[in-house]
């Protein structure tokens, strides 16, 4: 594989302006992330201390192998929901390393509303368990939740992918022989009681941990029975009488040491075999990505410059370099793992769609995972392209992608508009992980286009009613629509709603991909089987 020859001039004015713009955005991003992780009202921290509980971050430090990475998902989930009062949606999820194995982590954050489940909390947990199911990843649950947030129970409880899905996914994992361990470091009430109960192993921390279908107040109301927390569902009762609990721990530290010991008993995964090469750092400095991504989204940039700052040795074997050139396809290694890359260098035309369909099939034939770098404004429109069958060719790309069995990973590097999002493995297409860069946008179309379209509809409607509009009046209609739409397509909205697995600092992309690929190999890779390609 040859090294990509970068054409970036790091002394150029636009490079430096881009760099400044990106670092400014990242400063804000990191500040928000830090706040979501650590900033809590003092009374909530005091309460944890009073209860003799560690924070969820301290718990993770005790649980995971020291000196190893943790790929956290959706740190900024719910950042634009519930008036921003539920940082991280009250739960920490991610993939960490425990006794050298990849495990999925689901940890309630009791410093946020006592760990209560909001609708987005449930969505985040279900997403994590979906990741576990897709990748055959063992799960460690750290349970400490007040239960469903009752005022929003309709968004927590009834639907297919709400609360029940958590428990359903647990049973699916167990059926797949993927082990789960729950550490009960707080109360697990009602539905939450099933998290430890459905885990193959569980540990209850004496004093703080408790499991019951109905807590003491509910029992009192329902049957008049007076019973304390410990008698009703404490560690001693469950581990010596009911058998709902397996191990009891004298302290948090004991619980996590015990958890590490339990996980060390699990059989090691037989990971799927793909092509690998010795690990090599990128030749070009990943920080140069900051200057490569234009501060103005409408300016085109060469995705090869991005690839060069993410893959091993900046080496890239490009496939069909002279055909369908608005889509760059080719092979590279990420942390030693061979991957097939599809990256947008413009709109998808007929040829670039066909190239994609073909390349996806090559990668499946070869068990090569796929990585999508999105900067896509859509498939080409217009009479000529419709006549050439742009929809038909786009459908081939989707069919190939949908039939694909190799793990797929998506990075929304800039724009992600319209059907291009589908072709490039958007959220609905089951990328094993999907991350966005902080300046990226996602929507049916770009903000200005959308605002203009919406404004035009309104203006034409008014004109039909015989109203003549001044430029000021048109602007008055257009501006609010544009403002709202701009906000709706921002990465922060996407990540708040968990349409992605989190926003990434571009320099973290390489590690996030490496961890995602390695975790994905816990699941076997089958043989591809496609639907009908419209010819």
């Amino acid at each position: 594989m040859r090294r990509i020859q970068s054409r970036i001039d790091i002394n150029a004015v636009d490079y430096r302006e881009n760099y400044a713009a990106m670092t400014g955005r990242l400063q804000e991003f990191h500040a928000r992330q830090n706040a979501a992780r650590y900033e809590r009202p003092q009374r909530d921290l005091d309460r944890l201390a009073r209860q003799n509980k560690l924070t969820v971050r301290e718990r993770l430090d005790l649980l995971l192998d020291p000196g190893t990475p943790f790929l956290e998902f959706s740190t900024l989930a719910a950042c634009r929901a519930y008036d921003g009062t539920v940082p991280g949606a009250g739960v920490v999820t991610g993939i960490g390393i425990l006794q050298g194995r990849e495990v999925a982590i689901h940890a309630n954050d009791a410093s946020v509303k006592g760990g209560a489940w909001y609708p987005l909390t449930v969505k985040k947990i279900v997403r994590l368990l979906d990741v576990a199911v897709e990748n055959c990843l063992p799960v460690v649950h750290i349970c400490d939740s007040a239960g469903g947030f009752l005022p929003l129970q309709h968004g927590v409880f009834p639907d297919r992918h709400l609360g029940g899905r958590v428990f359903r996914n647990q049973t699916i994992l167990s059926r797949m022989n993927v082990p789960q361990l729950a550490i009960v470091g707080g109360h697990c009430t009602a539905g939450g009681a099933y998290v430890p109960a459905l885990s193959d192993y569980n540990i209850i921390i004496e004093g703080t941990g408790a499991i019951f279908l109905g807590g003491p107040p509910l029992v009192k109301a329902a049957t008049g029975e007076d019973v304390g927390v410990q008698e009703l569902g404490g560690a001693i009762m469950h581990t010596s009488v009911s058998g709902t609990g397996d191990y009891r721990a004298a302290s948090e530290a004991h619980a996590f040491a015990l958890a590490r010991e339990i996980v060390s008993q699990w059989k090691r995964p037989q990971k799927a075999v793909i092509e690998t090469a010795p690990i090599e750092e990128p030749f070009y400095d990943p920080r140069e990505l900051y200057g490569i991504i234009p501060k103005d989204r409408k300016i085109q940039f060469d995705m090869r410059e991005v690839i060069a700052r993410i893959v091993d040795g900046s080496r890239f074997h490009e496939y069909q370099p002279h055909y369908g050139t608005t889509l760059v396809c080719g092979f590279a290694h990420v942390w030693g793992f061979k991957v097939g890359i599809l990256a947008n260098n413009g709109v998808l035309f007929n040829d670039s769609s066909l190239k994609a369909a073909h390349f996806i099939q090559l990668c499946n034939q070869n068990h090569t995972p796929l990585v999508f770098f999105q900067n896509i404004t859509g498939f080409m429109v217009g009479r000529e392209y419709e006549e050439r069958g742009i929809t038909k060719d786009g459908a081939k790309m989707l069919m190939a992608q949908g039939g694909s069995v190799v793990p797929k990973f998506t990075v929304i590097a800039n724009a992600s508009y319209g059907a291009g999002n589908y072709g490039m493995c958007g959220r609905a297409w089951d990328a094993r992980t999907l991350f966005m860069w902080p300046q990226a946008e996602i929507g049916v179309m770009g903000a200005e286009q959308a605002a203009n379209t919406l404004a035009d509809v309104k203006i034409r409607q008014l004109q039909r009613e015989g109203k003549e509009l001044t430029d000021e009046e048109i602007a008055e209609i257009r501006e609010p629509v544009l403002e709202r739409y701009k906000r709706d397509v921002e990465a922060y909205t996407s990540t708040s709603e968990i349409w992605d697995d989190g926003i990434l600092d571009p320099v973290d992309t390489r590690n996030a991909l490496g961890l995602s690929i390695s975790a994905a190999l816990n699941a076997p890779i089958g043989d591809p089987h496609y639907g009908v390609f419209r010819m």
Binding site: P66, G67, A250
Partner: protein, 167 residues
């Protein structure tokens, strides 16, 4: 990959990692790159540490590492946090022995106020036509023995209660 090391009278938590280039031991908020290679002689090694090559002699026992360094011998106790905590874990949950089934007390070997060792036989019960000896789940002082020989008890009755552990 954590250990608690006992050096002198202090307990030092450490952890070991491998950066891909070599091992790094994390001690006292510092990350110290290090390597150990055997050299000539029994128990002889050379430790590479922050640019220094340090010859030393070592012997490792189950719970401690003995190191002869710069003409002096040192003993370093090693505690695996899991072992340490499991031992420590004989906490509140072990304050009482609860009847595993209904039965009758056959004999009692200790009295309230007696100091008992972990594993010491406390009483014999009979149920389901079988005699079973029950022993102390931890060391401590017997606080209460609610049933005398000959007395019957129900499922989950507390047969022995130990005084709470002093911190």
């Amino acid at each position: 990959m954590r250990r608690i090391l006992e050096i002198g009278n202090g307990e030092i938590p450490i952890w070991l990692a491998h950066t891909g280039k070599g091992y790094v031991v994390h001690v006292r908020d510092r990350a110290v790159p290090c390597a150990l290679t055997p050299s000539q002689g029994r128990g002889a090694y050379v430790l590479e540490l922050e640019g220094r090559s340090i010859p030393l002699r070592m012997a490792v026992s189950e719970t401690a590492t003995f190191i002869h360094l710069y003409g002096r011998a040192y003993e370093v106790g090693r505690i695996d946090p899991a072992d340490w905590l499991v031992e420590d874990g004989a906490g509140a949950g072990n304050d009482s022995i609860v009847a595993p089934m209904p039965g009758v007390v056959v004999s009692v070997a200790v009295g309230a106020g007696d100091r008992v060792e972990k594993g010491q036989m406390l009483l014999v019960i009979e149920s389901m036509k079988l005699e079973t000896s029950l022993s102390a789940p931890r060391g401590g002082v017997v606080a209460e023995l609610p049933f005398a020989p000959g007395q019957g008890f129900g499922l989950k009755s507390v047969l022995v209660r130990l005084a709470p552990k002093e911190e």
